[in-house]
């Protein structure tokens, strides 16, 4: 179909980029989700007023372009604090907090949706706060939050295309490097887009399916 100068070495190069995309996404989503859970639970415990400072900070991560967050974090860590930290680490840190900012809202919504009466019942059986959280709130809130969480994780994967600014060669950057050498922009871009699509589409559909199934009972 296409005549291309793309070699198998180039494909491996692209695959490495894709691997980096997945790696950065996985790390950030894991850390971000943990943070999101901690913040979400804390918010429920402290109430919106005591939690306002954290809400404010998290809100910043949702109100400033990710590109600027990355550039600023990079400049701050290196130029101001003079810490010797790799670009990959900075990328993961920023993306983690970015994820956490959105995840906190999702967790809060999930916990909020567990009826207070159900939690009372659990406590009345002698369960501790932690047991209530672990055996009642977690499973119930997960059902409510999981579809949005999948959406968030996929969003982070797509947004991770921006970490090139801190010298992380992920999929889109690898594609650009190959475009530089091979000068086949359309073909290479299509490969790159297809890769994102193949990962994102089925998972997004799965999220929609879960949402439908769980909203029925």
């Amino acid at each position: 179909m296409f005549h291309t100068a793309l070699t198998s070495a180039d494909l491996i190069f692209l695959a490495k980029g894709a691997g980096m995309t997945i790696f950065v996404t996985a790390i950030s989503v894991c850390i971000g989700t943990l943070l999101g859970i901690v913040f979400g639970v804390l918010r429920g415990q402290l109430g919106p007023i005591w939690f306002a400072p954290v809400t404010f900070v998290l809100d910043i991560f949702r109100s400033v372009p990710l590109l600027i967050q990355l550039v600023l974090a990079n400049a701050f860590v290196g130029m101001v604090l003079r810490l010797h930290i790799s670009g990959l680490t900075v990328a993961c840190m920023v993306l983690s907090l970015y994820t956490a900012a959105y995840c906190t809202e999702i967790v809060r919504g999930g916990i909020h949706a567990v009826p207070a009466t159900t939690r009372r019942a659990a406590r009345s059986l002698g369960m501790s706060w932690l047991q209530d959280m672990r055996y009642i709130v977690l499973p119930l809130a997960t059902r409510i939050a999981l579809p949005s969480w999948i959406g968030l994780a996929l969003g982070v994967m797509k947004d991770s295309a921006l970490v090139y600014v801190v010298q992380v060669t992920e999929l889109l950057k690898s594609t650009q490097i190959l475009i530089t050498r091979l000068q086949e922009p359309l073909f290479l871009l299509l490969i790159c887009g297809a890769f994102y699509f193949i990962i994102s589409f089925p998972l997004a559909r799965f999220g929609g399916y879960l949402e439908k199934r769980w909203s029925n009972d």
């Binding site: 910043i60 949702r62 109100s63 400033v64 372009p65 990710l66 590109l67 600027i68 967050q69 550039v71 600023l72 400049a75 701050f76 130029m79 101001v80 604090l81 003079r82 996929l154 797509k158 947004d159 295309a161 921006l162 889109l172 475009i179 922009p185 359309l186 871009l189 299509l190 790159c192 887009g193 994102y196 699509f197 994102s200 589409f201 997004a204």
Partner: protein, 221 residues
């Protein structure tokens, strides 16, 4: 503790230029939202239509918009389509990219909103003698826009944030582009981008507050 001397004066002196950039950013975001909403309504209608090919086109659009990075979509709008000899200026490429993205996400929101409107509403309209299109225009659409108002506000915020991706297609008049240009001249990276961040933050707050105000005005039922 900092091994870095902040030089805010230098950066602040460039504030007027950055505010001009913010105006361009808003221009792109607002245009992309207006066109995006119109397209999303069209996509929603196509998805409701009986025609299979039209449905397929709309679904493809929505799924690509939602399942690939915005940066990819913008890059594609500039360098990708140029392979067919179609040239867009950076401004247009950015606008096309963001609009494509907006339309996809909004169409999905609209579909969810539609599900929440009982079909008896259309029936009531039709039995008053309205055509299918009139019933949609006067009865379904206003209710749909109300339900989808919050997602639309969020999308508007994202549209503003997405303008920062314009630099990849040679855009240098928007807020991010201006900031990057100034950074090349002075290397005051931290100060300049911090100011840009504050401007972006303020813009998004104005949008969310404004949206709340509009909602309270518009939706009195």
């Amino acid at each position: 503790m900092f091994g870095y001397t902040f030089q805010w004066n230098q950066a602040l002196a460039r504030l007027p230029k950055m505010l001009d950039g913010a105006a361009v950013t808003m221009e792109v975001a607002v245009l992309s939202m207006l066109i995006g909403i119109a397209l999303a309504i069209l996509l929603t209608l196509l998805r409701l239509s009986g025609s299979r090919p039209l449905k397929a086109i709309a679904t493809t659009w929505v799924e690509i918009a939602r399942n690939t990075p915005a940066l990819f979509q913008i890059y594609m709008a500039h360098f990708g389509v140029a392979s067919f000899g179609i040239h867009f200026s950076p401004f247009t490429s950015l606008l096309i990219g963001i609009t494509f993205n907006n339309a996809g996400y909004l169409a999905e929101n609209f579909r969810g909103a539609l599900k929440a409107i009982p079909d008896t509403q259309t029936r009531a309209g039709r039995s008053l003698g309205m055509s299918q299109l009139q019933a949609f225009r006067y009865i379904i659409l206003p209710q749909m826009l109300r339900i989808a108002f919050l997602p639309m506000t969020n999308q508007m915020v994202w549209a503003v944030l997405m303008t920062s991706l314009g630099v990849t297609v040679g855009m240098n008049t928007d807020l991010y582009g201006v900031t990057q240009d100034l950074n090349a001249l002075t290397f005051r990276t931290f100060e300049l981008f911090a100011i840009a961040a504050v401007i972006f933050y303020v813009i998004t707050k104005i949008i969310t507050l404004g949206a709340r105000l509009i909602a309270s005005r518009l939706f009195r039922y």
